[in-house]
Symmetry: C2
Subunit: 291 residues, 2 copies
């Protein structure tokens, strides 16, 4: 079962190129931290802005640099044809699993989204994680649809968006979904601000943006949630505030630049880095946390 801490590293890039040295350095930090998995070309890895060739290269380099830690690869695209190509590329690169959100330009029906997961389920020889992200995909899974998809072969995990801010509500959701989904499908939480409550409430896996930069901190948070100690989550609240305000991608991109881990703001245009005053806030938060 997919469980524990999965980190979502940035893909350092500018308008001319990928910065592959910086990328493998970031993967190396994650490998050294011995987390449970690394997901490259996730949302934080800007997968939706990259070409097929770029995504295939990132998957290959990540598997090489991960020192045996399982690598999950994002395979989402507007078109099913492209999703299946990304799946092929990920498998050839040695991906241990893949992550799929239902991207689209035209709004999708439930039947279309089911058809997409069905096609990928059939074509995949590795576990598939169902990625729910209404903020970027504008698609809401009904409970019935998610349950239907989770019954397909190879579906191994669901990456839920952050919804329950309190442990008790998260526990209720975990119990509900444990009753709905096949037992081999792990319950995953994203939205780092919600991770503590979800893990304390019984979710199995934390799909973490922050862990892409600070895996050790996130390991501590995961353990503290498992023992229901909330101190570190309180300390990280200023980080979650920044994530809420600017989007986690823009914040970790700024952190990576400030930490000297990337040579540029790292965001694909038209995305722009945070403004100067927000950058100063981010710097202050990093100093307080001794990052």
């Amino acid at each position: 079962m997919l469980s524990g801490l999965y980190a979502f590293p940035l893909t350092p890039l500018d308008e001319q190129q990928l910065h592959l040295g910086a990328f493998t350095q970031i993967i190396g930090r994650l490998a050294a931290a011995k987390i449970d998995g690394i997901c490259v070309a996730g949302s934080t890895g800007s997968y939706a802005y990259l070409s097929r060739e770029e995504r295939a290269l990132l998957a290959k380099l990540a598997v090489e640099a991960a020192q045996g830690i399982p690598v999950m690869v994002g395979i989402g695209a507007n078109r099913q044809r492209d999703v299946l190509q990304h799946l092929d590329d990920a498998q050839q690169a040695g991906a241990a699993s893949v992550l799929l959100a239902p991207l689209s330009y035209q709004p999708l029906s439930d039947s279309e989204v089911f058809g997409l997961y069905q096609a990928v389920s059939q074509a995949s020889s590795v576990p598939v994680c169902v990625y729910i992200n209404p903020r970027t995909t504008h698609f809401d899974f009904s409970d019935a649809l998610l349950t239907h998809i989770a019954s397909l072969p190879n579906i191994a995990s669901v990456k839920f968006p952050g919804v329950a801010a309190e442990q008790r509500e998260a526990a209720r959701l975990a119990q509900y979904w444990r009753g709905q989904l096949p037992e081999q499908v792990s319950l995953g939480i994203s939205g780092d601000a919600y991770a503590w409550a979800a893990i304390a409430g019984g979710f199995d896996i934390w799909y973490s943006v922050l862990a892409g930069l600070y895996p050790e901190t996130c390991k501590v948070l995961l353990r503290s949630a498992q023992s229901e100690s909330g101190e570190i989550n309180k300390q990280l609240e200023p980080v979650w505030q920044l994530f809420r305000q600017h989007g986690s991608l823009r914040v970790v991109a700024a952190m990576a630049l400030l930490a000297g881990l990337t040579p540029c703001d790292g965001l694909p245009r038209p995305l722009q880095p945070v403004a100067e005053n927000a950058l100063a806030e981010i710097r202050a938060v990093m100093e307080r946390l001794q990052w």
Copy 2:
């Protein structure tokens, strides 16, 4: 000034290939109808599902088949780098103008959307149409942002979504925007069900899905709106109903198949054709209209 009737043809395709013979036949019908312009690789042309090479090829074939009628080319993409490449390709193909919606995966700020149009405005040597489509892009232009973008060099038209169902309200909007936007920027309407009211209310150009298949009918509607006769719009109401229910792309794709203009359902997966009962409804509407 961009004005009159612009048709948005389908791109006939299946999971294996583009059907280029069917595509050029559809363009030929539009050329024969002597409409004011043809927009290839618009939403109805499934641009967001096509590769760079496919889009460049469609632009080239359309210019060749259009017999001198101006060809507009859709250049939208998640990443600005790709938008600028599509712009280059469109210009090299002989496009008379380009169409740009602010696509994204990460939600965009106003400043990011302005930056995108600024970059395209600077790089373009042809007129640019600002494409507002919240249903597919999930981006809402504020009045201030749209006015700011419209002041950039090369911005020639705004493609508004259908909003005003009544002529009086459309006239109020037309008057408002005429006061806000530079005089060379034409007011365009999309959402075919709203075209009659908008043109009767003073909009300059109809960006039409239906005209991609039935240009003569749409020419009649345009003229009738200009003379404020509403009869044909009432006759077409069953078509607008189908568009509202299934999305215009799925309906015109079904119509093209029924009319023998395309060899397949023509929709990029995961999009699926309408169900059998909806297909029967579409067939009945076409028979009533003698299409």
